[in-house]
Every structure is written in structure tokens, then in C-alpha cells.
Symmetry: C2
Subunit: 193 residues, 2 copies
């Protein structure tokens, strides 16, 4: 019994995610959250707990959705080289299209919270490890099909590509000339040769 909830938990959590993604944890206030989520303060606390728990829920939603998105994109091409090339180009294109560069919510959190909060150290690390496994599986597919040479170290290479992706995502926050990132991608993708 009791009154029924008037808001959609997934929708308001998504709104919180967008805001934390854009502004980070510290710079986002409860007032920012209530206005963006469209619900009152006590509703946030009853549904998600305190600010940090809400942030964690938002980040988990992000990483899950992001992982499946990455997986989908890489499976979309039969050619592995083409898959990675398109993937990296799209990441760049999306970032340069938007006015403000939010980058990656998980990477932002790695920088802001991971060094001071073990929970987020683990959460962000595991997401990156998961992405690196997706990369690795894709590379192994390329080896299997004969597109990539058999002596490629799939694991090491996938880790290097994850690191490059992180570096690209971060440096785009300073809005370098587009040629900078294009050059970088071109060089990095040579590793798939």
C-alpha cells in the first residue's frame, strides 16, 4: 500500500548520469540534480541514497551501456581493421560534433575519484579491463580469419589500443587541431598490421 511513485527511475537516473558526466562529481550540486532530474530532494534520497550512491548508480548505468555499445560497434564489421578504424573515427567525430566535450564518464571518474576512493578505483578499472577484453576478442577474430598475422599478441595489443583510446578521449578535452587526432589514429592503427 502507499502512494505510487510518480517518476520513472530509469529516466531520472539517466538525467543524473548526463549531469555527472558533464560536470563531474564535486561540481554537481544537489540543486543541479533536482532541477535536471525533475524531482525533489527527498525523492532522490529515497530512491537512490546519498549523492555518492546516486553517482555510483549513474556510473554503473553508463559503463554497462557503454560496454554493450562498444561490443556492438566492433561486431558490425567483418573486417577487424575496418572495425577499429571506424570505431576510432566515430569517437573523434562525436566529440568534435558536440559543442562541449564530455569525453567518457568513466575516464572522467578515473581522474576525479579513483585515486581517493577505492570503490571507484575498482569500478573504473574493471570497466577498462572489460573493454580491453572486447578489443582482444575482436583482434583474435582477425587472427582467426587470417586478416591479422598469427604472431600478433592479441592481449598486449588490445591493452595498447585501450590506452590510446583513453589518451585520445582525454586530449580532445583540450580541443587540439583535428589533424592531431587524425595523425594519432593513423599511427596507432598501424599496430594492427
Amino acid at each position: 500500500m502507499g502512494r505510487t511513485r510518480e517518476f520513472d527511475e530509469e529516466k531520472v537516473l539517466d538525467a543524473a548520469m548526463q549531469l555527472f558526466w558533464e560536470k563531474g562529481y564535486e561540481a554537481t550540486s544537489l540543486s543541479d540534480l533536482t532541477s535536471r532530474m525533475g524531482i525533489q530532494r527527498p525523492s532522490i534520497y529515497s530512491a537512490f541514497g546519498d549523492k555518492k550512491e546516486l553517482f555510483e548508480a549513474a556510473l554503473r548505468k553508463y559503463t554497462m551501456s557503454r560496454a554493450s555499445d562498444v561490443r556492438t560497434r566492433l561486431q558490425n564489421h567483418s573486417s577487424v581493421k575496418e572495425a577499429f578504424s571506424t570505431f576510432f573515427e566515430n569517437v573523434v567525430a562525436e566529440e568534435y560534433t558536440k559543442n562541449s566535450s564530455r569525453g567518457c564518464f568513466c575516464i572522467n571518474t578515473m581522474v576525479e575519484l579513483a585515486p581517493h576512493d577505492e570503490k571507484f578505483e575498482i569500478l573504473t578499472r574493471e570497466h577498462q579491463m572489460y573493454l580491453s577484453v572486447i578489443f582482444q576478442e575482436t583482434i583474435e577474430r582477425g587472427i582467426q580469419s587470417g586478416e591479422l598475422e598469427a604472431d600478433v599478441n592479441a592481449k598486449a595489443l588490445s591493452q595498447a589500443l585501450i590506452v590510446s583510446l583513453i589518451g585520445l578521449t582525454v586530449i580532445m578535452k583540450s580541443r587540439p587541431e583535428r589533424s592531431f587526432v587524425s595523425n594519432t589514429i593513423e599511427v596507432i592503427l598501424k599496430l594492427l598490421k
Copy 2:
């Protein structure tokens, strides 16, 4: 005339730099600053301006010192491959030695402030561009000496190495297994072949 300043501006600015580096802009309070810098609040304002101006002074101090440090390290070896190898290994070793991973103050700022403050977008971008020029000069030295092949694209390669360095610095904040970063460095340095 008037009373003489009792604190060393460079020393207290260095203390502020350490604190901002460790905690970021938002999470560092004026009270944190006064206790770490060892001076009172009005002294900060009279010497450096408000919190953001102090932060900017601290970041400028960091980037200048960092750039000259990088330059020195890369000039320390006659072999260019060895120079980069030692450089990357040292970055990793230093990060894993310390208990907490502060990473790079400039990269932290790129993530926290650059997307919302044009001044820091420019400042952080220009630092990365400067580092990339140092990398490029080092690579060109290797080409000149015959250590690297003549058809190497020094500019593109240096940019890719900068991106990799950023990626490495960031992912170390989540404390991945050391093999992860070792693998990455090994793969990345193959680009110098």
C-alpha cells in the same frame, strides 16, 4: 615602506601546487590551502588573487617545470629508442612507487576544467603541444643519427606517443596490474622501429 612579506612566494605556491595536483580544483578548499601553504587567507588573496588565479599560477608553475624535466630526460640518452623507453618506464615506476597516484597535474586539469573554462582549455592544450614538439625533436634527432628510418613521420609519431603517455598516466589512476602497462609500453615503442 610597509611590512616585509614573511613567506616565500615560490614555496607557498609550490605547496598550493602539490595540493591542487593531488585533489583537483573543486575538492580543494581555501582552508585546505591555508593549512598546507602555512599562511593565512588574506595573504593568499593579496599575493595570488582568488582561488582560480592561484590555481592557474600553480598550474603554470607545474607545466613549466614539467616541460623542462621532460626535455632533460629525453636529452639524457644518445639513443633515442633508449631515451623513450627509459622515459616511459620511469613514468610508470614513479606512479607505482607512490601510495596515491596523482598522475599529471595538467592532465587532471584537462579533464576537470578544460571543458568548462576556455583559459584552461588553451593552457592545457598548449602544454601538450609543447611536449609533443619535444618528442618530435627527439625523434628527428634519431632520424638524423640514422637510428630511426628516414621515412618516419616524426610529427605524427610524436603526437601518437603523447596520446599514449596521456592514456598511460590516466589508466594508472585505476591501478591496473603492472603487466597491463608494461605490455602497453612494449607495443607502443614498436612504433619507433
